[in-house]
Symmetry: C2
Subunit: 455 residues, 2 copies
């Protein structure tokens, strides 16, 4: 299924675009003004919205309209959907709330909207959602700030949490390719979106925040197919009994036993995250190639982080690689006597960019190594910044170029921000915590198995 | 034991203070120039260091010297320690490396330094360390940036990781009262420091990053005493077999089986952290009073985070409080119909500061509630910022004032930074992730039990 009219619409109408900064329709239109395609504001009262000529009705637009964003008050939604249908709109993002989440009557109204949409051949995302974003064409059809451009397609069943995560990732400079707030999933659901995102080249992985599924069978069938091509990472809220009870009162739908979800995910090749950071850490690993096995080499300029990372590697069933004698010998030739040449390779605090380059090169060339984790804590020598360490790793990766995945762990807060940016620009995901890089390595290895069917 | 000459020295000498920005002695002296007490640079060649009159020898200082920071090259260290002894210095922070971590000969040299120091009645922190900080009197006797002022005493066996954590906490605005890099622990060790920090009013909790202990019995004896008064949180690297092997090659000492450490920690009333964020999240909870029990009330403006937090609460053996019928009735009076008045209380996205105030008040007054977690995700109504939500919580806490702990979970990246600051200023720790606030609540409840001996 293509949902290109949602991801790359040639033209967009915003029903409810507003000049009043306190309305959501103000933010949505403001965000869409930067879009490369055509964007038309629809407002029954205004001649202009934010300086752009407005139309009274979507049908008045003298142009085809691929996608309509609806943010009008609830009582006008049904007519708006009919108007969109008559206009020949293909996709509707229905932000307005007050439907299925309100109870039985709302559910009935929601079904009616979907029936109308389908009659006209339209599909709906929402209602009761934050909207959708495509960072690669600068389309922000939501009322929140632009996410950072990246490789992860993030689909969230909770609008508010989804928005909170977007704000968090902006702060942490973690990038999304798409952000899709699915709301009540009256029409398009996780399954449909996974299917469409499987074909999306800008999305290297699909991250799902799930509260409850209505059609578990459909989800599993699609996930099984998609997960052979592209990694799917799911975070399911309502693990505990208390949480499940809370989730069921929240979504109105039965959250179901977590054990059932967990089993279903695993059977469908879905990687399971236990919290938001696990979800993001795993998903953003997939700018790297998949490893051939689970033997990890760790290089570091400080022992502690090497040990903490080895602990995480072990926790996820990965192995510390046994380096070849030859590799260790070559490491000994240039590293200081106090360095540890056995994996984890501790180059000690004096290590400079050149040491990172040489060590990364040797480890990548070692046939006992499947995955490389390059760690750098704040260099303790005056005048040194982690930038040169990042550059050393990048140089080695480019030279060796043998398709082994490399992950960074740069643990120095703001001191290493530039180094992290350098790595990310080369597609090397860079983390700040041992647990994050550990689960990222796990995700790469595990998805390698899933894809090859040797799970 | 008092270590006041380390934490509040009247005067400090820096042996090896330098004008060369590439030397550690440059950074150390630069950092100490802001200290309120007197700081004397010692440099054999220079008349002035960074604009301050320098002395050739510590003994030339026409004043008493409480603490000496030694950053001279290794070959001058022994004489420097002797000079300090003759001068009547009380405490030495020995930053210079190249001792016990280098092998047997280094260990012997280290022991000799300690013997000399003890002969003169001096104590040593280090060698091979980053130094120490007291944020409450602006003393930074390290070569790294000032930590944020706060309530946690952080003692790190790894200098580089300790520094990395300081940089991380600066970025995340998490505060330390003291930062002590213990290095090789030739003289003062975790036990001595815990004992001293137990008496330190600015430190509400003690966080330890441990790679290996030389004297486990001493550690346990002191921890047992201290943990009756003040929470101790330990993160031990080398949990896994791979990690332990790595740790043992790193510290030179036997890391020992993690199971033994884990049991020893628990027997001594030490709270065990599994990673850096757990350690920090637990430690900074203790600006709040201890709860009487483990029944947690959650209030939120979005269902998803409430569910994720309920999951975390459950994971740590805490309970979701059963709210009194009366509480729920009163909540129903002002919350919208779609709100959930059963714990977790979901005030839904329309909740404003006033709703946070009223809800927090009712939950704190409910006798079935021991701990309150106030969650706010990015408000989805234009013109609203999380600041008013934080203010509502603060107002309720001040009015009710019944000694129940309150924790914040403000999940909106940079959007909620001001709200978090407001909460922290009132001593209400505010987190960004459900797992962090969950383990913080656990730490408060658990330490309440440890202190009362009803573990």
């Amino acid at each position: 299924m293509t949902l290109d009219y949602f991801f790359n619409p040639r033209s967009i109408a915003v029903l409810g675009a507003s000049n009043d900064p306190l309305k959501l329709g103000y933010e949505v239109f403001k965000n869409l003004k930067n879009y490369g395609g055509k964007v038309y504001p629809i407002n029954i009262k205004e001649e202009e919205v934010q300086g752009v000529k407005a139309y009274k009705n979507v049908k008045d637009i003298p142009d085809e309209v691929d996608m309509a964003v609806i943010v009008v008050p609830k009582r006008f939604v049904k007519q708006a959907v009919i108007d969109c249908g008559e206009k020949g709109v293909k996709g509707i993002v229905l932000i307005t709330a007050g439907f299925g989440e309100m109870g039985e009557e709302g559910k009935r109204e929601e079904r009616e909207l979907v029936e109308i949409a389908h009659k006209y051949g339209m599909r709906i995302i929402g209602p009761n959602c934050v909207g959708i974003m495509n960072t690669h064409n600068n389309m922000n059809a939501t009322f929140i700030t632009n996410a950072v451009k990246g490789s992860v397609a993030f689909v969230s069943q909770s609008g508010a949490l989804g928005a909170g995560i977007v704000y968090k990732t902006i702060k942490e400079n973690v990038g999304f390719s798409k952000f899709i707030s699915v709301g009540n999933m009256s029409d398009l659901d996780f399954g449909d979106l996974m299917e469409a995102l499987a074909e999306d080249e800008e999305s290297k992985a699909i991250a799902l925040y799930i509260e409850g599924l209505k059609d578990g069978k459909k989800f599993m069938e699609i996930a099984k197919k998609v997960s052979k091509k592209k990694p799917i990472i799911a975070l399911k809220a309502g693990k505990s009994e208390s949480g499940a009870r809370a989730a069921s009162s929240h979504t109105g739908s039965l959250a179901g036993s977590y054990a059932i979800y967990d089993a279903a995910f695993r059977q469908s090749g879905v990687l399971v995250a236990n919290n938001i950071d696990e979800m993001l850490s795993m998903a953003r690993a997939f700018t790297q190639p998949l490893p051939k096995g689970k033997r990890v080499a760790i290089m570091t300029n400080a022992g502690g982080p090497g040990v903490l990372t080895a602990d995480e590697i072990d926790k996820h069933g990965l192995k510390l690689a046994n380096l070849k004698e030859e590799t260790m010998q070559k490491l000994r030739e240039f590293l200081p006597p106090m360095a540890a040449v056995k994996n984890p390779v501790d180059m000690i605090a004096s290590a400079r960019g050149e040491d990172y380059y040489k060590t990364a090169k040797l480890l990548l060339e070692d046939e006992n190594v499947d995955i490389l984790i390059a760690i750098c804590v704040v260099p303790t020598f005056a005048g040194m910044t982690p930038t040169e360490h990042a550059e050393g790793v990048i140089r080695a990766v480019k030279e060796v170029n043998n398709g082994k995945p490399v992950l960074g762990l740069f643990m120095a807060g703001y001191v290493s921000e530039k180094a992290k940016e350098l790595l990310e620009r080369e597609g090397i995901p860079s983390y700040e915590r041992p647990e994050d890089v550990g689960i990222a390595a796990y995700a790469l290895a595990k998805f390698g198995e899933i894809k090859n069917g040797n799970e």
